[in-house]
Amino acid sequence: MASRADIFEQKVVISGIGQSAIGRRLGRSGLELTLDAVLSALDDAGLDRTELDGIGSGSGYAVTPGASPVSTSELKEALRLEVNWYGASSDSSQMSALVNASMAVASGQARHVVIFRTVTEASAKAHVSSPDEKQRVSGMTLEWRAPFGAPSAANWVALAAARYFHEFGATREQLAQIALTARHNATLTPNATYRTPLTMDAYLSSRMVSSPLCLYDCDVPIDGAVAMIVSHVDAAKDLKSPAINIEAICGPLYGRDTWDQQPDLTRFAGADAARRLWSRTLLRPKDVQVAQLYDGFSFLALLWLEDMGFCGRGEAAAFVEGGGRIALDGLLPLNTSGGQLSFGRLHGMGLIHEACVQLRDLGGDRQVRNHPRVALVTNGGGPVASAVLLIRK
């Protein structure tokens, strides 16, 4: 294991969290939603906006409608901040905003950095369109998939799921537990997007998107914002809410930048993130008391379970069979506010927010019992994989 001095993230805490209203077509601007989340995070930390000296996000300096409608520049202007450090670039490992803010704080570039993720994907009617034969695409290796009517991550993840089912004998009933668990937890979460109970029958008879993935295996686009204050551990003692320590964090890229060239077509890059993460801590999978595993598609969360080491290779479907182990009162409570499948898609930062809520015992009806103190969060699918281990001391 790397020496403790090399584990920069252990000088970093999440000192405040905030979230805006969450929903479908809220009719509010991305900036309004962002300010709600940021002001809420400041209040949570007990900080004044003038104490923020850093700003970062997974979005760029300019906007991308729907998926990144608010830039770091806009937020800085709105709050009239003077920052020692700012990060303004598209997500690399999807957890980049947290990784970069942590590095800024640990290195002394800044003391309190606000990071945020804002989406208006429901309002923007963001949709993936398949190019007709007159159009050309490039970038993200899309030119190798879009011409074949495979423009969506739903197709790319489905291909891995289909091969996984074939090799390991997994069934739709097993995969269903990811969606059923998420939906049950969402019914206990006041601001989750989909809160009506979901049965196995309804899941199995729902419309297919790309086999074996059905409607309920795909996350829900929403409008909403989540924000966090990332601070140096020395600042944590003075703050209002219990600090959440970052025990280990990573976002590696070892394999090919691909969705279809990996030698093992049943999986993506989660195992790479696991290897890197566990090398930065003495904690192990058995120490994790609550897990928020990326569920842009249900199958990704299934892979994350075995990639992070909660069960053996190819055993995740059996691990979730019946839903008992991943239930709120189970061995490894999973996606406790409904995940991206039922709470809503916040591109992974919403999962970090929920982990902090659980570590602070603020989960209300969905709170995991016995005061969980170690939480794992993962983001990513395809070549993108990142993970963070959060602890409350």
Partner: protein
Amino acid sequence: MTPQPVSGFATIESFTVNYQAWSPDLRVPYVIAIVSLDEEKELHLTTNIVDTEIEAVRIGQRVKVVFKRCEDVFLPLFAPV
């Protein structure tokens, strides 16, 4: 390194039946597959399986390339042998 012609024979490594009309005029369902070329098993192509009933497609099935012309591009699709 220069391009070398290959036989066009391949094996279906995975496939999914797409039911979602990603654009209004897209006709569904259709099959998207990842195939591996005989000459280099680690080389995969994402493609469509054509000239077959959807229900007959299988992982492990042998296929051969069929080119579909789109303007100046020839898209490699695959059909069962």
